[in-house]
């Protein structure tokens, strides 16, 4: 794996093919987990990476959809066999996806993007909002030493503790909480309506958690941009490392189209549009220029 800060990197060998759907089950309100049989994908993908998924033999909806790795599922002999991804019903494609039965085939390509870096984290604090919890089940399992990912399996220093701070609109949207608990991940919940956990923002949970932790913390974050921006500010204030996984609208997922750009700062503080798919989706929080920030001029680029 390469650094999220590095130059664009492309997979030497990615998989594109028809994956058989093994399961497609509802796990929360408007939220489904789909299991796709693909040993080549399952053995290569690491936490934070994603795949593109498309309904085959149709021109409408046309484009694939990027979905983050939720879990790698082994076969009876323990070898990586299938991948789970979790999706929220949002539009035309996901509405059709929920109807796809087990046994059907979907067009899939990946693994794509750069995963979360396997940096030291004595206490890994995973902050998620909306559907942003999906990359963190595999990451938590990896950092707790329960499962290894990648080919060859990447080495990750084992954390003393992994915590998920997870916020959603209401309790019925919280998806996969028992999966996280079963993995030994401590879960703190927040809902907008207070139907479960803290009533309010998930970001309210971060500072008290870090203050109480006996270990140095590292934050990883995924969710709606305002929540990511707030988390990044908190991490900066607490002076703890923070990586964020950005979700930007993508057409290809493989670096070809230049659609999915985000404003990323370089070392000198200038920003440029960078492709989330191949240069991210995981970035250091301090490098991301969020929407409400003063922009200034892009680096070394003329104005439009």
């Amino acid at each position: 794996m390469t650094s999220f800060q590095g130059t664009p990197t492309y997979p030497d060998h990615a998989w594109h093919g028809n994956a058989t759907v093994l399961e497609n089950v509802q796990i929360a309100r408007a939220t489904f987990r789909i299991r796709l049989a693909s040993p080549p994908l399952a053995e290569r993908i690491v936490p934070g990476q994603f795949l593109m998924l498309r309904l085959p033999r149709r021109d409408d909806p046309l484009l694939g959809r990027p979905l983050a790795l939720y879990a790698v599922v082994p076969d009876a002999s323990g070898r990586p066999h299938a991948v789970d991804v979790v999706y929220l019903i949002i539009g035309r494609m996901t509405s059709r996806l929920r109807e796809v039965p087990a046994g059907a085939k979907l067009d899939v390509w990946g693994p794509l993007g750069n995963g979360f870096p396997p940096d030291e984290a004595e206490h890994l604090v995973m902050v998620a909002g909306g559907i942003g919890q999906t990359p963190f089940l595999s990451l938590g399992r990896e950092f707790l030493g329960m499962q290894r990912y990648g080919k060859p399996p990447r080495a990750v220093p084992v954390a003393k503790k992994a915590t998920l701070c997870y916020g959603a609109r209401s309790a019925e949207f919280l998806a996969g909480v028992s999966d996280f608990e079963a993995a030994g991940i401590e879960v703190h919940l927040a809902t907008d309506d207070g139907s479960r956990g803290h009533r309010g923002l998930v970001t309210d949970l971060i500072a008290p958690l870090v203050a109480k932790s006996p270990w140095p913390c590292r934050i990883v974050c995924c969710g709606p941009e305002p929540m990511i921006a707030a988390t990044a500010r908190i991490a900066q204030r607490l002076a703890i490392p923070c990586q964020v996984s950005l979700e930007t609208p993508m057409a290809c997922g493989i670096g070809a189209c230049f659609s999915c750009v985000a404003r990323i700062r370089d070392e000198s503080g200038n920003w440029d549009y960078r492709r989330t798919c191949v240069e991210g989706p995981v970035f250091d929080a301090q490098h991301v220029v969020f929407d409400n920030e003063e922009l200034g001029a892009p680096s070394a680029r003329e104005a439009e």
Binding site: D12, H16, A251, C257, S259, D272
Partner: protein, 303 residues
Amino acid sequence: MVQLAVQLGRLRLRNPIVVASGTFGYAREMTGFVDVGRLGAILPKTITRHPRPGNPPPRTCETAAGMLNAIGLDNDGIDAFLTRQMPYLAGLEPAIIVSIAGRTEEEFVEMARLLDAADGADAIELNISCPNVSGGVDFGTDPARCERVVSGCRKACKLPILAKLTPNVTDLARVAKAAENGGADALSLVNTCLGMAIDWRHRRPRLGNVLGGLSGPAIKPIALRAVFQVARAVAIPIMGIGGIATIDDVMEFLVAGATAVQIGTANFYNPTVTMRLLDELPEALAQLGAAGVSDVVGTLEVP
């Protein structure tokens, strides 16, 4: 054995399956998926004289059987292209057709000169049809300016010149003839169709640039019509572009009058599409009893 090689003016390609500019990155992005060495030619993403940040996001939006894009020629400029991308591209087997866009005739000519002086380019495609930058499309809508920019580039360099035209004009054949008069070796037809998408609940355009270019299967009939009409109006060969995704699409464009085809948006939703087309092409040509691609080009029978 079916003959796959095609001739586009002074440019010879070993097969007619080409990837369109802006849909294949700088080729490196695609090496994990396809054997790029098998392609007839590669068109890297359009470069400009100076770096451009591109348009603010959202830059793309899916539409019915298609997509809108307003990337805005996000690129690092020709100098960075020549040092960072060209050495890799030059080492590949397929022809490298470098797509360039200038804001002025002088910028086009200067880039043509720079590419001529550098190693690696086998031809130049003049992107005089990008709808997403101001100045980009003017050369493709005004026949006189089109002819001037083509002839200026032709004089400035020895490389074969292709002119990529916009369908967003009343009389495409007239612009095509102007490019031919200017000395183009071939024409690339067509760039995207200008369009837009709206989120009415928020009364907002769905693209950061408000307007964008429509591509994908939705525009195939428009592109096919353009190739058919222009093929009857000019003597130079045509590269067909617009919603090509299947071998049937490829054959339709060849029969309509295209000598080669560029695969664009299909690379986004089917990254291995070009390999499949290359596998299927000989059989499709054989179905028409053709000994080579040229035997089917422009063979449409109109009752």
